[in-house]
């Protein structure tokens, strides 16, 4: 499918009318491809991500090494492909935790209304004011660096973002006629919340989860960058950016550039896709 870059103007818009916005299409394709690479990365990598070759250290792109090598002679392309897994796994788990917690909190709060909702709202506001990275750093400091400490911490930190967005839609749905009908039909509030309210807020949940994935990826990479997340010699984009710092002074920019660029592209793709989905999920019908 030919997607003309820089596509603005009526002509392109009309051609894609059936598919939708170019922004939506492009970001969806990009996010999809990157996710695919994360899944199959290690299988298509030309070299093992751990294979060192000191004689070929810090080299630029060449025929044998498409994206060059790092300071230990490992193939950057392979490390990037393998590292994609951890770079994606972290934010995936963060989004999963925050989605489940945030959605449950929002629906519970919207259902009960009154003082329950007010208290929950105040609690969320407090959570908002805590900077995410700081919590992740503290978490690693207390529980030890690695995958789980920052992921759990960030999962909790991202919960209010999901909760806030779901809450306003949940409140609106909660007051629709069909909810009262179900109450009259003696359906329990648990069942109404789970089987009826949750599906009706799904569009905004998916949109926010997609958007959050992008931000979580950047945050997770940042924690690894400062050494409190994934530890070297594991391959992960944030670790690679950090590893590449020492080579920058020697003019070897390839590791930092590749890893950094991948992070930026992925974050943008998921953020734009999330924003597009969000814009399309506001209406009821």
């Amino acid at each position: 499918m030919a997607v003309p870059w820089g596509a603005v103007g009526d002509l392109t818009r009309r051609r894609f009318a059936a598919l939708g916005d170019p922004a939506l299409v492009v970001s969806a394709v990009a996010a999809g491809l990157l996710t695919l690479l994360a899944v199959i990365g290690p299988w298509i990598a030309p070299y093992s991500p751990d294979a060192t070759d000191v004689l070929s250290a810090s080299q630029g792109p060449s025929a044998q090494h498409l994206l060059g090598t790092d300071s230990l002679g490992r193939d950057i392309c392979s490390r990037a492909l393998a590292g994609a897994r951890l770079s994606f796994a972290g934010p995936a788990m963060i989004v999963l935790i925050s989605t489940v917690l945030g959605t449950a909190l929002a629906i519970f709060s919207a259902w009960h209304g009154g003082w329950v909702d007010r208290m929950a709202n105040r609690f969320l506001n407090v959570m908002f004011s805590v900077p995410g990275i700081l919590v992740a750093v503290l978490s690693s400091a207390v529980f030890g660096a690695g995958f789980w400490a920052p992921v759990l911490a960030l999962g909790v930190v991202y919960t209010p973002y999901m909760a806030r967005v779901v809450r306003s839609l949940a409140i609106r749905e909660r007051h629709q006629g069909y909810v009262e009908s179900l109450q009259l039909a003696t359906m329990s509030s648990w069942r109404i919340g789970l089987r009826h309210l949750t599906p009706n807020v799904m569009p905004i949940v998916v949109a926010q989860a997609t958007y959050g994935f992008g931000s979580a990826l950047a945050d997770f990479a940042a924690v690894s960058f400062i050494g409190l997340g994934i530890q070297p010699p594991e391959a992960e984009w944030g670790v690679m950016v950090s590893d590449g710092r020492s080579e920058l002074l020697n003019g070897a920019i390839q590791q930092t550039l590749v890893a950094g660029t991948l992070i930026v592209i992925t974050v943008i793709a998921f953020n734009v896709l999330g924003a597009q989905l969000s814009a399309r999920s506001g209406g009821r019908r």
């Binding site: 009262e180 039909a185 089987r195």
Partner: protein, 258 residues
């Protein structure tokens, strides 16, 4: 007067009052000392304009609001004994659930465990409101306003209530479709022993669908009696003004003198 114990009443409301307290505006009296009753198989209309309290009264009877004072006695006090059909056909059905599964879910909660038993009942319910199997697979978005109200009626009937409250249930429908639903409601009442509490501002609808009616104004009972008597020879000036304001053949609009 007939003693209440000899009348087979499905609903008996006495001294119903409701005051709403908003955090900004202060107290608002929605209902004051309103009383009415419905016999088994009968239909009572609650007539009034905006602010009359008719919807509040209906919601209290249904159990969706609590009264500030007064009593609501139901012959069938079990939960689910009173069902309601709302005015807006577009928000009264879960948009993400198909019609058939929705009915199955209701019946499951009501205690019907065997799937075959439920399927038979779902088919009967749909037929009883003039729909069929095709509609069972559809989602609310593919149905028209009139069809959605039929589904809402079917869902209300699924729990076999003794009393069905219709809160302006036909007001949002086109005239030609409204007639279909009114006829359907009349047929259902003929076939079963169900009683109706019909909230409406439309006197034509009220005439066709109710035996007795009460007229509310600003939360207070203005007049009560048989529908035919009230509409043919209203005793109170407010009721007269209400009837005179309804467009009908030969009618002309008139300025209020007050």
């Amino acid at each position: 007067m007939t003693a209440d114990s000899r009348r087979d009443l499905v609903l008996d409301v006495k001294g119903l009052s409701k005051t709403f307290h908003s955090r900004t505006g202060g107290p608002r009296v929605a209902l004051h000392d309103v009383g009415f009753s419905i016999e088994r198989g009968a239909s009572l209309a609650v007539v009034g304009e905006s602010g009359s309290g008719k919807t509040t009264a209906a919601r209290i009877v249904a159990g969706l609001e609590t009264a500030s004072a007064g009593t609501v006695d139901l012959a069938d006090p079990r939960r689910g004994g009173v069902q309601m059909v709302f005015q807006d056909p577009y928000s009264s059905l879960d948009p993400r659930q198909a019609i058939g599964p929705g009915l199955h879910e209701l019946l499951k909660i009501h205690g019907m465990r065997r799937r075959t038993e439920r399927s038979a009942r779902v088919t009967r319910l749909l037929e009883s409101v003039g729909l069929d199997e095709r509609h069972a697979a559809q989602y609310p978005a593919s149905l028209s306003g009139g069809q959605r109200q039929r589904v809402a009626i079917a869902r209300a009937l699924a729990l076999e209530p003794a009393l069905l409250i219709l809160d302006e249930a036909v007001s949002a429908l086109d005239v030609s479709v409204q007639a279909q639903v009114l006829n359907l409601l009349a047929d259902i009442r003929e076939r079963t022993e169900i009683s109706y509490l019909f909230v409406s501002h439309d006197l034509g609808v009220v005439r066709q669908v109710s035996d007795t009616c009460i007229v509310l104004r600003d939360g207070r009972l203005v007049e009560t009696g048989r529908t035919a008597d009230i509409l043919d020879s209203p005793q109170e000036t407010y009721t007269q003004a209400l009837i005179e304001a309804v467009p009908r053949p030969g009618w002309r609009p008139r300025r209020r003198t007050a």
